[in-house]
Symmetry: C2
Subunit: 338 residues, 2 copies
């Protein structure tokens, strides 16, 4: 039988860790005990959550005794070292890091898209990269209805994907520039204020960045299409919250923009904002703080057989991170898997 209350630990007190706390509260997750954990750097800090004050504990193996469910929203190293410890102590781990995502024995889950993969978990469940989540949310209903042959995606990714220090850098650099001072560079290698950085994460030997590689590999895994033809360009833009993606795709069978809008609008968690007549389309600013994936600019891509183009926007800290992780947790509760 499902526990009525779940003992939860959240590892990581950055932008995503804090957003997970907010989303757990908003969605009235059946919380029992709550532990906030972090590496030595942040341990000892205090946070108020749900009217109670919490002191952040040091994340170590013993921290997970008595924990049913643990969210990891810290570094890859933290997940690598501590997630197996949490599992060994009986916890189920929902991991936001990229460390376990491509392991064959770890399900990589967007509940609306491949929730059934949760059934196969062995303790660790990975939540995908922010840019992947919003992409597969838009692709899944189209793939189901018309088959997916090829995907070309160019991203417009906000600085909150990097973290809180990057948000502070965008703020301070913007003020520098607007006051005529040279922008001070710390988090990124070049100024992000009023600029674009066509590199997210490190380069691989094939010329793709880690972020682009994640988008391609994770999409293939989630859609169970290891052969899917997909290519990505990932660009950091001077936006605080919200990622956008320009997507050109090709389906196996013909699909009109009207049909594409219909199947996407019927998909849970996807909202169509798409009316050229009234100039309606989604923007990062308009969707920040919401839990859904917004699609606009749906039209034929006439440059290829069965081509479609669309523009996908979501809050990268919410559906792109915290909300997706909490939705995984809700599914585990609903399916009595905790």
């Amino acid at each position: 039988m499902a526990k009525t209350e779940v003992n939860v630990a959240v590892v990581g007190t950055g932008a995503v860790g804090q957003e997970i706390l907010r989303v757990l509260d908003e969605r009235r997750f059946p919380l029992g005990e709550l532990r906030l954990l972090a590496t030595a750097r942040s341990a000892g800090q205090r946070y108020v959550f749900g009217g109670r004050e919490y002191e952040v504990g040091l994340a170590e193996a013993e921290s997970f005794d008595g924990v049913d469910l643990c969210f990891f929203a810290a570094s890859n190293d933290a997940s690598r070292d501590l997630a197996p410890e949490a599992v060994a102590r009986g916890a189920t781990v929902i991991d936001k890091s990229s460390y376990f995502r491509l392991r064959p024995d770890v399900p990589l889950v967007v509940p609306e898209v491949n929730g059934e993969a949760l059934r196969e978990h062995r303790g660790i469940i990975a939540s995908p990269n922010c840019s992947t989540i919003q992409l597969v949310m838009a692709l899944k209903p189209i793939a189901d209805a018309a088959g997916l042959r090829r995907v070309v995606v160019s991203t417009y990714q906000s600085v909150s994907g990097t973290g809180r220090e990057a948000m502070e850098e965008l703020r301070s650099q913007s003020l520098d520039v607007l006051s005529g001072a040279p922008p001070r560079v710390k988090v990124y290698t070049q100024p992000i204020a009023f600029n674009l950085l066509p590199q997210i994460d490190a380069f691989g030997a094939d010329g793709y960045t880690g972020e682009e590689r994640k988008l391609m590999d994770e999409t293939r895994k989630i859609l169970r299409r290891p052969d899917l033809a997909i290519t990505a360009t990932a660009v950091r833009v001077p936006v605080f919250i919200g990622h956008a993606e320009a997507v050109n795709l090709q389906t196996d069978r013909p699909m009109s923009p009207e049909e594409a809008r219909e199947v996407m609008a019927a998909f849970p968690g996807v909202i169509l904002w798409d009316d050229p007549q009234t100039g309606q389309w989604p923007t990062p600013l308009a969707v920040a703080g919401t839990d859904d994936v917004y699609v606009g600019r749906v039209r034929r891509d006439l440059s290829v057989e069965n081509g479609l183009a669309l523009f996908v926007v979501a809050d990268n800290l919410r559906k792109g991170a915290a909300t997706n992780a909490v939705q995984i947790a809700e599914r585990l509760v609903a399916w009595e898997m905790l």
Copy 2:
């Protein structure tokens, strides 16, 4: 014989008109008389240029008497009404508006790409849209070397493409947001500060915007490939100067990234900034104020046969507008066509 001095008129005192004056000066164009002209709204303003002060005259048919060469950098209406008047009075017109660009009897010219088209002009020469110019500069050497089968482009376009009021709007809205005030919207329909607007220009019945349509149609005309498979998504980003484009293309014959880099680097006006090892790639901020087109992120697009991906950046006010127009003028002088 070529005139040693050319009597020039510049119609329009906006961002592009002023940039044309700067570029004429920097490149030591053989100026004779210079007239600054504008519609009633700006007539009477004074500008200092080359150490002399000029009063902006009202642009009307008679303004073009004695003018050899006239740059139009004002509205489509101004070009429609006055360019034929200038031609009737013996001037050659270089038009930055979109009004004449797709007319079969008007050459649409990027000198490095299709300069020979100038030979066919009948008084009016059109300079392409900013986003088109930097795209065809990167595509032309690849098309010549390996044939071009399909192009998918997603743009990241700065507010200076809209004009000076939009630059002021980005500045003031950014200050609004950074001080916690609601951003005041005037030029665009939604805030551009720390946001993205996936609409540039009006929508057509096919769901493409005017900017996207220009990119597709103008590229086909300039490359003399009316059949070229090309699709575009145009997005306004919170950058002051400089447009970027994520380009995925397919060639007829196989071409390695190394070959692509080679042929582009050998093409006049294209500069490769492309070294993943050192994290070298172009950004709008880094190329602002320069006259060339910068290409980085050249890599295989493995999702399609003969696929390549690249990232193209240029100063939209310079090569994307003023510099290209002045280069057309220089070619006319060199070819003794004035």
